[in-house]
């Protein structure tokens, strides 16, 4: 099996699936071009994540990651939840296949996007200017973080040509010595 028992458990019995109609914050990341898409909804009470629900379109890893993130964050304060990282999510799942690490990336990002949305709404309610948030609804260049259009072979922003890392499948600069996603040595052909 390519996945750990923990991943398969969360994939088969995902926790906190659903939609919160009157959510205090909502965050959506990814899109089907990249592979996965996740939507997180949060209810906040006294700066604590009272309830979390998610919906995910994606592979086994993406579903397991969303479920794990929701479980890790539920009941935590907002500040604690913001400290959940891709690495801690993957670790809590007893690891993910190298080429699926970007899924764990999305899970924490989606939660954080929901929290930012909540903060923005709070600020707006207080009449303050909302802080800008990055809408992560497409693929991004791993070097300049500029948005990529459909075919991911070239970044228009930093003028880098990509090739797929043979180890993890993520985008790496053509001729790069190290994969920016998995850190694999690409200098050897």
């Amino acid at each position: 099996m390519i996945y750990s028992d923990k991943v398969m458990d969360h994939f088969q019995n995902p926790r906190n699936v659903g939609v919160i109609k009157d959510a205090d914050g909502m965050g959506q990341v990814g899109n089907p071009v990249c592979g996965d898409m996740m939507t997180f909804y949060i209810k906040v009470k006294d700066e604590r994540l009272e309830d979390i629900k998610f919906q995910t379109f994606g592979c086994g890893a993406a579903i397991a990651v969303s479920s794990m993130v929701s479980e890790m964050a539920k009941g935590k304060t907002i500040d604690e939840a913001m400290k959940i990282t891709n690495a801690t999510v993957a670790e809590s799942l007893d690891g993910l296949p190298k080429n699926k690490l970007h899924c764990s990336n999305l899970g924490a990002d989606a939660l954080h996007a929901a929290i930012e949305d909540y903060r923005k709404k709070q600020a707006a309610a207080r009449g303050e200017a909302a802080e800008g948030t990055v809408a992560k609804d497409q693929c991004y260049c791993p070097y300049c973080e500029g948005p990529l259009e459909g075919a991911e072979e070239f970044c228009d922003h930093c003028q880098i040509e990509f090739e797929d890392c043979p180890h993890c499948g993520n985008l790496a600069k053509k001729g790069a010595e190290k994969c920016p996603a998995c850190g694999a040595d690409l200098s050897q052909p």
């Binding site: 898409m37 592979c59 499948g169």
Partner: protein, 393 residues
């Protein structure tokens, strides 16, 4: 748990008759076909007998069959060997956009030596238009390669018509028949091809056994430099046991192909008709009629392929998917995108490919188990929620 194997396109089970034919070479008969003593000569006779059987399956002469280690090797051999042998005539290739990676990447590799290629588009059913092939051929075109059938969507291409186009233009034609040979009738004369790849593991033979047909008189560069094996075109001691298995599988396919296809076509059609009645928003991929007898492929909207595949596997059903998440490179299938499907739909790709022995009960089991899996995954899909909301408006 009950296992229902519906992943023909990945591998077929070994026919018991094939296993029987191979057994003596696992223990006892080990001679090298190039040795002059009796053990060697016996092995040589065995592989030449297998060569005759493979040739008979595709209507070729024995001397036109070269054994290789895989369909991918046969494709590499054909594309590189034929193109490089015609270097003096030009350096342009014409390929369909839905060729297997072993063809596309061979062409890509040739680009480093100055070749360029034109990819011929396909229609929404994955069909190549022979007229488009004719238009793509240039004065400096040295090879056309169009597959006989596509393993992801099951579409069978009009290779015989493309053969006429190529003959008129004087350009050699290779066809990757790995997904087709042994499953549908294949005749190199009727197809008018100069080269054809096939693989034993697609018709109940062993893995590691494949062949390339090269029409007599067509120049091709050797693929593995070495000894005099395979007429000096592919060095290396022959995989005698695999070749024996391939020969036997070709033999059995020749006898049972029609019967197998008939049984599988009925079950295929049942799944194609019945599944969309039980699951909404599914799209058949590939041509409805011009398709492999064992092939059923769908794109299921709002759901990703790997998550369906894993759920089916937990119910004992083995399938394939062309979704980005399923591929190690995390790229959506180039075949589905070339057919004009959008990324979201291509992500929901699922292939059920039947094998000899698949029963009506197996198909019923899929029809029973699959709808709740899709329903459950859609309940957690943000795309489905969005779709329902948009519909409400």
């Amino acid at each position: 748990m009950k296992r229902v194997y519906l992943d023909h396109i990945a591998a077929t089970p070994l026919d018991p008759g094939v296993a029987e034919a191979m057994r003596p070479f696992l223990a006892g008969r080990f001679g090298n076909p190039q040795s002059l003593h009796a053990d060697g000569q016996e092995a040589l006779e065995t592989i030449e007998d297998a060569r005759a059987r493979v040739a008979a399956l595709i209507g070729a002469a024995e001397s036109e069959v070269i054994f290789t280690s895989s369909g991918s090797e046969a494709n590499n051999f054909a594309v590189k060997g034929l193109a490089l042998a015609r270097r003096d005539k030009g350096c342009h290739l014409v390929l369909s956009a839905i060729e297997h990676q072993s063809v596309l990447h061979s062409a890509k590799s040739l680009e480093k030596s100055g070749f360029s290629s034109t990819l011929v588009a396909v229609d929404k059913d994955g069909l190549v238009d022979p007229e488009e092939v004719r238009k793509a051929i240039r004065k400096d075109t040295v090879l056309v390669s169009v597959m006989l059938a596509n393993s992801e969507v099951g579409t069978v291409e009009p290779v015989a018509e493309i053969g006429k186009v190529c003959r008129a233009a004087g350009v050699p034609l290779h066809t990757d028949a790995v997904a087709a040979a042994g499953s549908i009738p294949v005749n190199v004369g009727a197809l008018g091809v100069d080269a054809l790849s096939l693989a034993g593991d697609q018709f109940y033979g062993p893995k590691g056994s494949a062949a390339l047909f090269i029409r007599k008189g067509v120049r091709i560069l050797p693929f593995i430099d070495g000894g005099i094996q395979e007429g000096g075109r592919r060095g290396g001691t022959e995989n005698v046991m695999g070749i024996v298995g391939l020969g036997k599988a070709a033999d059995i396919a020749g006898q049972k192909l029609g019967e197998r296809a008939q049984a599988m076509t009925a079950l295929r059609d049942k799944l194609i008709e019945e599944l969309p009645r039980r699951v909404g928003h599914v799209v058949l991929t590939g041509h409805r009629e011009k398709r492999l007898p064992h092939h059923v492929s769908f794109c299921v909207e709002f759901v990703e392929g790997e998550s369906m595949l894993l759920n089916l596997d937990m119910k004992g059903i083995a399938t394939s998917s062309g979704s980005a998440c399923t591929s190690r490179a995390l790229k959506a299938s180039h075949v589905l995108l070339a057919m004009g499907l959008d990324h979201a739909l291509a992500q929901g790709s699922l292939v059920f490919s039947l094998v000899d022995g698949t029963t009506a009960a197996d198909i019923d089991y899929v029809l029973e188990v699959f709808p709740p899996i899709v329903e459950r995954l859609r309940q957690m899909s943000p795309l489905y929620t969005q779709f329902l909301e948009d519909n409400r408006k």
